[in-house]
Assembly symmetry: C2
Homo-oligomer: 344 residues x 2
Amino acid sequence: MPKSTPPEADSRRLQMADIARLAGVSTSTVSRALAGSKLISEETRTRVMELARSLKYNINIGAQNLRMKQNRTVGVVVPYDPDTRQHLSDPFFLSMLGSLADALTEQGFDMLVSRVDASELDAAAAPFDTGRVIGIVLIGQWRHHDQLNQLAARHVPIVVWGAQLPQQLYCTVGGDNLAGGELAGAHLLAQGRKRIAFFGDINLPEIGQRYEGLCNALAKAGITPDPALLVPASFVPDGGRLAVEELQRRGVVFDAVFAGSDLMAMTAINTFRQLGVDVPGRVAVIGYDDIELSSYFHPPLTTVQQPVREAGRALVASLLELTEGRPAPSLKLPTQLIVRSSSV
Amino acid sequence: MPKSTPPEADSRRLQMADIARLAGVSTSTVSRALAGSKLISEETRTRVMELARSLKYNINIGAQNLRMKQNRTVGVVVPYDPDTRQHLSDPFFLSMLGSLADALTEQGFDMLVSRVDASELDAAAAPFDTGRVIGIVLIGQWRHHDQLNQLAARHVPIVVWGAQLPQQLYCTVGGDNLAGGELAGAHLLAQGRKRIAFFGDINLPEIGQRYEGLCNALAKAGITPDPALLVPASFVPDGGRLAVEELQRRGVVFDAVFAGSDLMAMTAINTFRQLGVDVPGRVAVIGYDDIELSSYFHPPLTTVQQPVREAGRALVASLLELTEGRPAPSLKLPTQLIVRSSSV
DNA sequence: CTGAAAGCGCTAACAA
DNA sequence: TTGTTAGCGCTTTCAG
């Protein structure tokens, strides 16, 4: 185990006391000057600031935080699900990370990123428990509703990207999965498709709501969902391929696929191509997320767009509410159907 | 500006002194017990530990760090280039982030992620200067060689993902771009292609070396590179399309494209498709990076794989060397040609 | 084996 | 306007 301290051998790090000595004042004066306090005379203030700048002195934030009992870091944790293996490599999650980085930077906060094994989700609170961050944004609700509730009950300031569930103690920000699913369903129905297969694990709250949305759309068209068309695909790399094969094995008739994620839709389309099934001719396919590559795909993928930009901002805003002791209501962000060639 | 302190109104955070009082010992004893010191009797140690666990007490790392002058956080900074606009949304960079997260977690380090405007790159050192991190991993060398040299000269422990350059004071870890370029060129030549266009800004060190590799391959085949085949595409979202259009405008003959990134290759292929140009029939296309979606693309993309997994580990390993005062030689990681359908 | 006391680098009363 | 002093939450001599 390597030590983690730089060798202060040669040039010890500059401290406030050094600046004070060099400026011929007390550390309090330096502290005040650097903080822009009005208690300090214009003259000394600029003198101290100049000195500090020319010496490239920087305040030690750790010490400052300790003294002021403050902190401007938020934790972003990405649960790593041992089953599905979806982790920090999923394009959608990664884009959420980027969006969060932007939103936090904008607000002057630092971002401490960690991965945690989803099966021990309380570990997600570690950065908070140890005082490193003022709160946690968790990307990926999975099926850990209960563990998340426990965290919230422990008063860990946490906001989760995911679906709003009944009996929920924690704050969620998420896309409107129900509406998104319905949008997708309605679009497919409008194209004359009636046998719509759904790929995804409906035990995951978000996926479940997307499926429910699809069912709503079907209901409005007077169609009863056929359980044979529901394939419990997971987020494994080739989930789409497996789902298509399962569908074939079942020998069920279908003319459209609504996949729980873009990645799944893409692998499904590739599998169809290998099988000589024309997309969208024989089967219309629609994905979910609108990751960047969806538009580059062939055929360009019709999909439901998640509001990633807004998501980052909203997650941060809600977390800040929580850390200030105000309640943060869960939020449902609007989604949008992006029609491209894979479904028309 | 929101305040960033949680309301300690109700339940003040537990401290060591609380545990000490409850256990009827001194804080020193608690400190030692929790640290697993052998100076403490088996009995008190377990008693204290039990108590701490049952009360869910956690050591305040900030205070601990201050006192011990240590730190187990490393900064990962992603420069945001105002020109090319490539930032935290590029799939390759994002996957590097993931890989770093893994490598750091493995070593028990936390990861502080920040974005900085590449035009003020010294800001990259801020987390180090303020004592928040023990060193910096910078993803994206761009053309900021000089600024990076300055950071290194200031003794900021920093390792950069990118190309090794002459007169370089900082440590780089990167793929072997020269070999990668040559691999790609040789492959294309082996397919009988002789007029190979290159898409990318060769002023960027990594891209430049890839082009140089291509030229080496051409030279070995006795072919002189044609400047008309070099298109200075950038990383803008549809760089590939623009490059193809430029090529057409030039009216130059070509039978292959080597793109500086997979994204560029993909948009190029899409453009070719729209123009009715068969890939790989009329034009073979090869990308660079091997991002996850390359294999899902149609046609599946031939590309040069960057060793992302190893990269994360290597970057972290080198940084730790630096922080311990040891020199860290720059590293060139082997790359690999992944042949898929877009080129054969 | 345990406790008292000093101090990490900084800020904030309180005095001057 | 400035300095003195105490102390943020922890670890570690140094004594017992």
